[in-house]
């Protein structure tokens, strides 16, 4: 049935679908939820950590939140190893732009460059796509505070509030109800925690299970 068309990324199925890309998105839907909310005076990114253990050394590395440049941060949902490669690339692109133009990279340009990279893995090379979705939060002097989301297909969109990972539909419906465009950063932070508490599997919510970032 569909099995014949999913072993290679570089071919379409007869129904016009790219199965490898869809399977990548399926992998992400099992990952910890990440949500982002654009406020009037800032942006909030909040994420649920999946790997929690008393034995885990805190502070050595982050699973969900990464700083890409002084003015851009991103939250991850999906395969952490894939995310590391892409975040490293994003950091490189941001510094390259700074080297060439002596100005911080506009947020959308960074998102576009990462998405072009992800798209390449869906069209040529015979390699599987990256199993990561990103939420990018950044500020630049052209468009102010911006929130973007990208997925393994290489598509991206600008959002006022969104969520990726497990239970993201539930999170999005709560956001649709509770988000107001005039929301302040403080209210956005509260809203983010409320979202995560509703979408997390476990009953208790404590700081060890969350990663939080705001711009």
């Amino acid at each position: 049935m569909a099995r014949r068309y999913d072993s290679r990324t570089t071919i379409f199925s007869p129904e016009g679908r790219l199965y490898q890309v869809e399977y990548a998105m399926e992998a992400i839907s099992h990952a910890g939820t990440s949500c982002g909310i654009l406020a009037v005076d800032g942006i909030v990114l909040a994420a649920e950590k999946k790997t929690i253990s008393k034995l885990l050394e805190p502070g050595t590395s982050s699973e969900k939140m990464y700083k890409v440049d002084n003015h851009i941060a991103c939250a991850v949902a999906g395969i952490t190893a894939d995310a590391n490669i892409l975040v490293n690339n994003a950091r490189l692109q941001a510094q390259r732009y700074l080297y060439a133009y002596q100005e911080p990279i506009p947020v959308e340009q960074l998102v576009q460059q990462l998405c072009d990279l992800k798209q390449g893995y869906t069209q040529y090379g015979g390699l599987r796509p990256f199993g990561v979705s990103f939420l990018y939060a950044g500020w630049d002097d052209k468009y102010g505070y911006q929130l973007y989301q990208s997925d393994p297909s290489g598509n991206y969109g600008g959002w006022k509030a969104t969520a990726i990972g497990a239970n993201n539909q539930a999170a999005q419906s709560i956001l649709r109800a509770d988000y107001k465009p005039e929301i302040s950063l403080k209210e956005a932070m509260n809203l983010a925690i409320k979202i995560l508490s509703k979408t997390m599997d476990s009953t208790t919510l404590n700081s060890g299970k969350l990663e939080f970032a705001y711009l």
């Binding site: 080297y99 060439a100 133009y101 002596q102 100005e103 506009p106 959308e108 340009q109």
Partner: protein, 212 residues
Amino acid sequence: MEALLAFNLRDSVLVLVDSTAGRSIVKMKEDEEKVYRIDNNKLLAAVGESGDRVQFCEYIVRNAQLYTLRNNYPLSTKACAHYIRGELAESIRRSPYNVNLILAGVDKEVGPSIYYMDYLGSMQKMNFAVHGYAAHFLLSLLDRHYKADLSLDQGVELLRRCVNELKTRFLIGGKFKVKHVTLDGTIEIPLDMPEAEPTPIPGYHTPVPIKA
């Protein structure tokens, strides 16, 4: 040798560039365009080896316009200057472009700015800048007469002084073109200069009574 001069006015930039194209002792044309329009409020003026000048400037202009097309907004003057400097610095270590440049631009938040670059890839942001042998004559003149917040009329008057100095004292002369860069666009200003008249020196040209 070619002359290139630019200085900041209150909220625009004046650029003076000679328009002679020549080889060795022959002047081939007197209306050569050495200023390239990057976009509505940025000009790139270049002097040096003519093939290098055209090749490099057209490359920069095309890349700057590609940026505008891709992103729906233009490069700022500062970003453009650093980009150009980077290209010069990269190419000098491979196959150098023998061009000296001035980038003149006006941005809404920053105002007028002038970036002086030479063929080695060094760059400096300045209020007034001169390239070529003309610098030996005009930098001192500008040091003396340039002020911040000049109006267009004052600026053109200062330009006339500079051209007069070159016509009087500089061995190699020809025609000049003047460009005015503002936030609304770039325009060429005709500079009708009568034949240079030396400024009369009292005591040399006209007798001055000797006070006892």
